[in-house]
Amino acid sequence: MRNGCICWVIALTSEAKTLIEELKMHPLKGDTLFPVYKNKNEDEWLIITGVGKLNVASGVSYLYALCPNARSSFWINFGIAGAGIKVGNIGEIFIINELRDDLNRTIYYPFILPQLKIKNAMLKTFNQPQNIYESSFLFDMEGWVFYNIVQRKITRELIAVMKIISDNSTENMSSINKDFVKKLVKEKVKNLMSVRDIGYNLSSIENERTKEPYLFIDITKNIHFTFSQNKKLKKFLIRWDVLFPKRPLPPEIKDLNDAKSILDYLESCLDSHLLKWE
């Protein structure tokens, strides 16, 4: 079952434009705190946060609250970054394998996505724009904070930070403008999509693991279950699905009208089942 979701967190409209078109996203209607986009299937979400640590922290929190599948989504922070000497050329794209902050000593090591042919680099996040082109890493104003906030709720395997070099010792920040950024992103959209595809798969795995069990909503819609009965029901339904994948439950419980009878019935079926090994 393909059932993933992607949450893009991007600082600038010019960085987001190509993705919005590529993924056929449209803006969320109404009064939103930040510009937020999603696609028709609602499995692709994008927020434009503005530049800087505070903006990205607020944007992540806002998108987390808005996206119904935020918890099992794959989160990507993508944008332009400055690059130290020998890190790479203008327009080169990187996936970040080490995140540092200029003011905080915590270092994050994002999960290395499998089978990805994109170069890795370290990223350091600052409060102000930098021109430290003699350094040996990438630098930006959002990456570390994005990761710091997202990893509080999202499993490490579902977070990625990607950067395209916009300025380095050969071409400084003065060349950066909207059209230049759009061009850089457009040239690397294939790479972005390859990360997106891997992320979508990983998100599907997580979604499959955490999804509400089959029939849970249908059963609890009409019959009252206490809190502890609800928990028990969820456990039994998951086991039912695993042990009796070809045995539809509704006809078997259609005449049972209260929570206890349903739970007793499920328990007796599940406990009398013998696993087949041959």
């Binding site: 999960f111 290395i112 490490r156 990983l202 693991r209 695993v242 013998l274 696993l275 090994w277 041959e278």
Partner: protein, 332 residues
């Protein structure tokens, strides 16, 4: 096989690290301050990591040799374990490591010399006692041998202390270091086994039971002492016949004289660990089976457990003297 290699800065110049890196050419490592900055942090998905594990080369700082849990013994009065590695290449649905750590990445502690010192300290402290050291508690003793060189390093050490035993517990058939040397009288190569039909469904990524039995047969014919570990015993339809076939298959292929010990253990999980393991792997049939909370452990009912234990013991008596039988109940 290995998604990424991380190396603790402190050991980046360790010769064993250099040797290991030669086996992963083209995979630039990431240097880290301490393994805990990646391993076992909160919010990690064990199942996804199990698909794409990383290798972390680290230095163990303390606790080189630890007292083995109660019931873990195979005849000696003192039992210790040491873990040069955390986590395992295999992916067995009943494995407690899934609940022990939130990471599935492999940690390999390269400072074997410190483990060696810890082992020697224990040996000299208990010099007139019967002691067994177990190496396959937090990992498979041999599965990672080609990378780690663990057995090649440690067996010659134990050879010098014939009064203490070393158990290498494994499902691996990578036995090059053992095949290339003469048997060591105080080394027990202990294989975990279960009926083929069960192993096919729950011993993911591990060599088949047939391959394991072939390897046991080979080592036995060389004279290596063999341990048979029927742990955990798994229940289900036709379980009696499945175990009859397994025992028959094992014993017809092994010279009984080289059997050092036979261990039987029930399927068991500490309560908190089971919750974690089940939440990570809700689709597991084994974990969805009828398991009950008994004291602090999740297991089959007492009746099933006793029935399986006594049935298997009766069967095994046909093949082997009861003095070689040990039970690992795993009371947590």
């Amino acid at each position: 096989m290995i998604n990424q290699i991380y190396i603790e800065n402190e050991i980046k110049n360790h010769p064993r690290v250099h040797d290991i890196l030669k086996k992963f050419k083209g995979k630039p490592p990431i240097y880290i301050d301490k393994y805990a900055s990646i391993f076992n942090r909160k919010n990690q998905n064990f199942r996804i990591q199990k698909k794409y594990p990383s290798l972390i080369l680290a230095q163990k700082k303390a606790g080189y040799v630890l007292k083995a849990p109660e019931d873990f013994g195979i005849g000696n009065s003192y039992n210790f374990y040491f873990s040069h590695m955390y986590n395992c290449l295999y992916d067995c649905e009943y494995c407690f490591l899934q609940g022990m750590y939130s990471s599935a990445d492999y940690i390999l502690f390269v400072n074997f010399e410190d483990f060696e010192e810890g082992i020697k300290d224990k040996i000299s402290f208990l010099k007139n006692e019967k002691v067994t050291f177990f190496s396959g508690y937090d990992c498979d003793s041999l599965a990672f041998e080609k990378i780690s060189g663990f057995v090649r390093y440690f067996l010659p050490i134990f050879k010098k202390f014939p009064n203490v035993d070393i158990e290498l517990r494994t499902k691996s058939i990578q036995m090059d270091p053992l095949i290339s040397m003469a048997p060591i009288s105080n080394c027990i190569v202990a294989f975990s086994l279960m009926p083929t039909e069960m192993a096919k469904k729950i011993d993911h990524k591990a060599p088949s039971i047939e391959k394991r039995i072939n390897m046991i047969s080979k080592l036995a014919s060389m004279g290596w002492k063999i341990g048979l570990r029927f742990d955990p015993l798994i229940y289900g339809e036709n379980w009696k016949n499945l175990y009859i076939n397994l025992f028959d298959n094992v014993f017809k292929n092994i010279d009984k004289k080289v059997i050092h010990s036979i261990t039987l253990g029930p399927l068991r999980f500490p309560k908190a660990m089971f919750k974690k393991i089940k939440s990570m792997n809700p689709r597991s049939k084994l974990l969805s089976d009828s398991l009950t909370l008994r004291g602090n452990k999740i297991s089959y009912s007492n009746d099933i457990e006793l029935e399986m234990q006594s049935f298997c013991i009766e069967l095994l008596k046909q093949y082997s003297p009861e003095t070689l039988f040990f039970s690992c109940k795993g009371n947590f």
